[in-house]
Amino acid sequence: MTLSTAIAGADAVASRLKGPQGPKPRKRFSRRNIFIYGTLIVVALYYALPLYVMIVTSLKGMPEIRLGNIFAPPVEITFEPWVKAWSEACTGLNCEGLSRGFWNSVRITVPSVFLSIAIASVNGYALANWKFKGAEAFFTILIFGAFIPYQVMLYPIVIILREIGLYGTLWGLVLVHSIFGMPILTLLFRNYFTSLPEELFKAARVDGARFWGIYFRIMLPMSLPIFVVAMIIQVTGIWNDFLFGVVYTKPDTYPMTVQLNNIVNSVQGVKEYNVNMAATILTGLVPLTIYFVSGKLFVRGIAAGAVKG
């Protein structure tokens, strides 16, 4: 590059600097924006559409559904399908609707969640802070358990439950859920407790706190976010479970999911699409509510450990 071109270049820069200044104006309808937002809107519609159809259908009467226009909003809004799904729909001889399944599910979910979190958090705490002999081996085996397909264990568990007299009872299912929640929850808690500063644990030991004292007084108060995460994982997992529910319970202890399936898949009579839709939404309502209520805490718990508290 010669000197003259260098000077010319410098002049060009200088003259440009004299022009209008400030951040570059942005076009709202740039090609980039249209592409990004267009894609997002299409994808959002794609995911929202089934829910829309479900809600709309559940609010229509059967004659209107038979017209076949599934995207049309209801001409005449009726809540009858919801009432029927909740309290009148029949499964076999039983015509109590989903309500019985709902209460069964509550009776299964609440103790399962409580039990599994209580045990797994103590497991995780012990594994993270009290490095006992064989802790690593124990942990490896536990994590390995997470990779064994459930189907392999279905039948052995049937036998075990029969032998201890819990087969077909709600408590049998609670036990199964608690055990199957163990690997992932223990991993979750262990990793969280490991991320807490070790010196806090040491300080508490010097201060004379023992195993349970440190757990309840030091660790627990610092771990609310991870407990919320564990709760969400367990509530949704157990509420949505179908396989264990159908295998380990009897008709009068069926959880909501199994009952929903029986209502929707019943082969007798007319297919009442509106009732089916209402029943499905009702079943999904509990996990949905949990997500909405604790979404913020959930994100915080997942991100915990990424930043120092």
């Binding site: 500063p197 010196e199 040491k202 010097v206 201060d207 004379g208």
Partner: protein, 359 residues
């Protein structure tokens, strides 16, 4: 019965195949301020954790106040510990933090109140008692951490690099405060640090550790003036000691063409000969008129200088080897200047090439 506050006999600690501490012996008299000094990974914090009972040792015994506490719980040993990260319980107030240990020991409520109040007064943290740790500054947090040991009325204080997380100014302030606290309480204190200034200023005795063993145990004066190994000599002092590579001969220390007289050198075990290092501290080198009285003098050329305010560090070549020394900061120098330096090797240290031990 000994008057030792802490006594460690043949302590071994291994993590699997890795030996961290090897046959370590240490006796700490009542009321002593002992500093464990060493580079990262030398085992000094590990040793402190062993004394505290936070690590199960592989072999040996630990006595505190003549009680064998080798297998006692940390809280049963009569120790209090202050951590680098303060380790305050975040969900408790300062008061809660201070009283946690007392509550665990099932003290009466009135007694707890009284002890907390007294500790808060000693450490000047009364106005902070109802605050959470998050609302405290670094210095205040560390004071609360010290208070947690104070309320329990322990025999031995263990400090694990307590000032490392503070800025330089605060560190100096708290250093003085810890020293004052020790003079007031007269407890035995064991203090781990990698900062030699902290070690020199605080310690009654310093134990310099390297790869799991104590290299030298002595007063700061001994450590500074008569380092037992080359490592200790290198570690203590800033700027670092000069090491001149040479041979101890009959006439003195020969390095290349230069011979440095060794008259008056305090031999550790009688005069010896053979390859050795002669260690000279930069601050023991005299210049100009002061150099005239020294047994060894030499004219040198200034090759490089680093002004540091109070001092200027001058780099040169002596006996064909790099050499540096301190010059008064007010003394103006320039690269290429000639000047006469001198030192007395009686103030230096000789280390055998084979053993790296003081000759």
């Amino acid at each position: 019965m000994t008057a030792n506050s802490v006594e460690i006999r043949g302590l071994d600690l291994a993590f699997g195949a890795v030996e961290v501490l090897k046959d370590l012996n240490l006796e700490i008299p009542e009321g002593e301020f002992l500093v464990l000094l060493g580079a990262s990974g030398c085992g000094k914090s590990t040793l402190l954790n062993c004394i505290a009972g936070l690590l199960d040792i592989t072999g040996g015994q630990i006595f505190i106040k003549d009680q064998n506490v080798t297998w006692a719980e940390p809280s049963q040993r009569g120790i209090g510990m202050v951590f680098q990260s303060y380790a305050l319980y975040p969900q408790m107030t300062v008061k809660g933090n201070l009283s946690f240990g007392l509550k665990n020991a099932r003290f009466a409520k009135a007694e707890i109140e009284e002890r907390v109040a007294r500790a808060a007064e000693i450490l000047q943290i009364q106005p902070l008692l109802d605050r959470k740790p998050a609302a405290l500054s670094g210095g205040q947090r560390q004071r609360v951490a010290i208070g947690r040991a104070l309320v329990r009325d322990v025999d031995v204080f263990l400090f694990d690099e307590p000032l490392s997380n503070l800025d330089a100014k605060l560190r100096a302030d708290l250093r003085v405060e810890i020293k004052r606290l020790h003079q007031k309480l007269r407890n035995t204190m064991i203090y781990v640090t990698h900062d030699q200034i902290e070690a020199m200023t605080l310690a009654d005795r310093i134990a310099i550790m390297r790869s799991g063993a104590i290299q030298q145990l002595g007063s700061p004066d001994e450590i500074y003036n008569r380092p037992r190994t080359k490592y200790v000599a290198e570690f203590i002092g800033s700027p670092a000691m000069n090491f001149i590579d040479g041979v101890v001969a009959e006439r003195g220390f020969a390095a290349g063409d230069t011979t440095i007289p060794l008259d008056g050198y305090g031999w550790a075990d009688g005069p010896k000969q053979g390859p050795a290092w002669l260690g000279i501290r930069p601050e023991h080198v005299a210049t100009g008129e002061l150099a005239q009285g020294k047994p060894f003098r030499q004219e040198i050329t200034v090759e490089l200088f680093e002004p540091m305010g109070a001092d200027t560090l001058v780099w040169t070549t002596l006996a064909g080897q790099p050499f540096h020394f301190n010059l008064d900061g007010q003394h103006k120098v320039a690269t290429g200047d000639r000047m006469t330096i001198g030192f007395d090797s009686a103030r230096g240290s000789l280390f055998g090439k084979d053993t790296e031990l003081r000759l």
